[in-house]
Amino acid sequence: MTIPSTVIEVEATPGGDPVLAESLESRPAAGRKLLHGFLTDVPAMLSLGYIVLILLMAIFAPLIVLVSGWGPYEFDQTAIDPNMGAIPLGPFGGISAEHWFGVEPGSGRDIFARIAYGARVSMTVALSATFLTTILGVVFGLLAGYFGGWIDTAISRVMEFLMAFPALIFMIAILSALPSDNRIVLLVVVISLFGWPYLARIVRSQTLSLKEREFVESARASGASGAHIVFREILPNLTSTIVVMATLAVPGYIGTEAGLSFLGVGVVPPTPSWGQMIAAAAPWYAVDPMYFLIPGMFLFLLVLSFTTLGDRIRALIGSSEVRA
Amino acid sequence: MTGDNVNDTADDLLRVEDLCVEFRTAGGVTRVVDSIDFAVPRGGALGIVGESGSGKSMTSLAIMGLLPKGGAASGSIRFEGTDLLAQRESALRRIRGDRIAMIFQDPLSSLNPYYTVGVQIAEAYRSHRSGVSARAAKKVAIEAMERVHIHDAARRADHYPHQFSGGMRQRIMIAMALSMEPDLIIADEPTTALDVTVQAQILALLAEIRRDTGAGLILITHDLAVVSEVADRIVVMRGGRLVEKGSVEDVFSDPQHEYTRRLLDAVPRIDDEIGELRTTAIPVVCGEEKR
């Protein structure tokens, strides 16, 4: 369900490390060219546009909802037909001027409002988890790769251990056993716990190869401390890899959160989450397909946008490196 | 262009005229080989010398028709009278490996790690000769391995490339080239990846094979010492252009071009005075930096 790390590994080392490190000389010029290339790339811009849209939707949800008229927790009994098993009145699941995306069968809640609030959950969890896993992954990957020895062994064993877990099942199990407050924090922690090893593994292998390079040797020869080398010499060379990895991790976590919510262990109702809405919509799929299609569409497009963005960034970095 | 005043005979094994190799990239068109001419007589040995980026490898790839994507060659490359640049791919495949064989620089990456060396030596033979059984081809492979002085060849034919040392692997590459008894062998930096002691052995092997089979040899290298051991004639390339051409004795004793002189000067000699570091600046030509 989450994009396996193997793909990220294969594809996230554009052209191989040597190419990445080689661009040290023309940094500022390359940066500007990169930005220009990025801004004129149609798929990247479209994706970024959609992402910004959803971000704004998430941030300003309370305001937006004031404009659209209905909150996410309000029931509108006038919009559903009690005689027909409470399906929404009107075509396309009850889309109307009042309810821009229609209403939920059974409860009559405004779908637009719930989508807006659901965006909060998706973005918060995914972005926080990405932030956390990136930090953990980079720190542990650097430590393991640079210092080697028992530090590397210890960290690698922990990583193997975590990766051997059937993550989804475990996450479901942990989340179901715990009480339901602070769900979002819990989701972020659990997802990050099983997610960081994949990033750390990539960072570690890149650090291992960078460590052998001449510029590291010369830094060491001129008396630089370990910390200096790690943060000033090696880390900057990893930036493009990290950016690509992080961007590609987000859609995975969006999917994971949605999946967990779909299975009922994500945020607790009535807090809306896109995954949960789809789960609720499943029984109604034959009579009210809009109910699952709308959150499904939003989910699909968000994951698509982040993946496309990551892909385009990686392609841009790769091609600029080759030219340099 | 300086130096050469030998009459080219029409009987040459290989005759290259006005060869240009260009690459089309997003940034434009780059010319990596610029209008070079040279010839290799039957049984002769030609050394192509130059720094990295001088276009010498591209020249050899152009002869074989193996230019990387985006590359195009023009001019004429006559091999025993036939212009290779005018041939279709199917005809080139028949010539490659059978009449012109090539040996590359890094024998470890040039051999497929998943198959035994016996299979890899034999496959050229089976591909070019029809109706050959696996067993017969393997015998040919073992013979080829023995020709290049690999001990216990029958057993070692079943070993994988990573089980051999660097020098042995290069011998295997030579065995692959030999197995078809080609008329011309092109060796692209065959000793660069090897230890100095092993280098001498490989060069001696190449010389021996030339003597025994009468095959022509093109040796590409940046190392003047290597060239002087093996080649009769030498061609010096720089920035895609040919700057000097002639017999090894002539060029070494009386270089006509400034660049050649500087190259020769840069080679340390046993009778040099100790204590003096001889540095000569070799001016950089556009396109040579950033390798």
Binding site: M1, I3, P4, T6, V7, V10, E11, F161, A164, F165, P166, I169, F170, I172, A173, I174, S176, A177, P251, F262, L263, G264, V265, I278, A279, A281, Y285, A286, F292, L293, G296, L299, F300, V303, L304, T307, T308 | M64, L66, L92, R93, I95, R96, G97, M102, F104, S109, S110, L111, N112, P113, Y114, Y115, E123, A124, S127, H128, Y160, H162, M176
Partner: protein, 332 residues
């Protein structure tokens, strides 16, 4: 070779042990009163007492853990409503909610999960390989871009959304397929096939996209290798160059990943099974989580981890058979 194998098996056992311990600790720590949890929704005070006694819940943690572990190897006994129930080795527990031995529950459902996993695996492997090779051969041209877009979409759609879309389109709107039900193969092979078709497709789509990209990347990279240049320099036929020197090195690493993915799925495709209502191990997991049937949750977690870890080992061994470089290192 034996030593290599031995060290790997030992490592595997250690990891398995740690996973078991970790899982047990989580459940022990997280459930304040396990007896109530285990008892589930329709509980009576007598049952709670029974559970407490049966599972020795007043005993110290390590003793309870020991009971569990030893139960895995030697079996255990439970007292249920006065009667003794033997749980033969490996004893994965007893579900007080459903009144069944957990191992029986799992064994009943394994065939369905296996069917889903294997059918989907065949689909995604074939699809992925074909898509990847075609993309690599036509790199940069239309076919490549087409597959790039297709895989992007396929990777982005959550499989439950795809499941609902497919069901709506194929079953409700077009009526091409029946509502999925479990029909045994022996009864009606045709129906059996049609019923599994949608779950197979839904599960395979995401993996096929990943495999296409992976195959494409591997083939393109392999085509740059020096030994491919050597093969061409020897004048080998292009089909031989492709088979021996391009495809074989490119596709071999995919075997590893394929093995791991199948192993992961044997523990049950939770979401796919739930959406289609198929009674496999995955659905069992989902159901037991919502009804809080702890012995079952614990058991499926362990089983999944077991498959993944063993799968890892099998794949490693397979690699020694396939890659000559690893083979000689293993023998040394």
């Amino acid at each position: 070779m034996i030593r290599f194998l031995g060290s790997r098996v030992l490592g595997m056992l250690v990891v398995l042990f740690l996973v078991t311990l970790f899982t047990y600790v989580i459940f022990f720590v997280l459930s304040p009163d396990p007896a109530v949890q285990i008892c589930g929704k329709n509980c009576t005070p007598e049952r709670i007492e029974q559970i407490r006694a049966n599972l020795g819940l007043d005993l110290p943690f390590w003793q309870q853990f020991w009971e569990y572990i030893s139960g895995l190897f030697t079996g255990r006994e439970y007292v249920v409503a006065g009667a003794v129930v033997t749980c033969p080795a490996p004893c994965l527990g007893y579900s007080f909610q459903t009144g069944q031995l957990v191992s029986e529950m799992i064994v009943q459902r394994l065939p369905i999960s296996a069917t889903i996993a294997i059918g989907a695996a065949i689909l995604w492997l074939i699809g992925g390989l074909i898509g990847g090779v075609l993309s690599a051969v036509h790199e940069g041209r239309f076919t490549d871009k087409f597959f790039a877009g297709l895989t992007l979409g396929a990777m982005s759609i959550p499989n439950y959304v795809l499941a609902l879309v497919l069901q709506f389109v194929l079953v409700v709107a077009l009526g091409w397929l029946p509502f999925p039900q479990a029909v045994p193969f022996a009864e009606d092979p045709g129906q059996w096939f049609l019923n599994f078709l949608m779950p197979w497709i839904v599960l395979a789509v995401g993996y096929a996209a990943v495999y296409t990209r992976l195959t494409r990347a591997n083939v393109i990279e392999t085509l740059q290798e020096n030994f491919v240049r050597t093969a061409n320099a020897k004048g080998l036929s292009s089909s031989l160059v492709w088979r021996r020197h391009a495809l074989r090195p490119a596709l071999t690493p995919i075997v590893t990943i394929f093995g791991m993915d199948i192993a992961g799925l044997l523990g049950g495709a939770v979401i796919t099974e739930t959406v289609f209502g198929l009674n496999g191990v995955g659905k069992l997991t989902a159901d037991s989580i919502s009804s809080n049937d702890q012995p079952v949750i614990m058991a499926v977690t362990l089983l999944s981890a077991f498959f993944v870890i063993v799968g890892n080992l099998v794949v490693d061994l397979l690699y020694t058979a396939i890659d000559p470089r690893v083979r000689t290192a293993a023998r040394a």
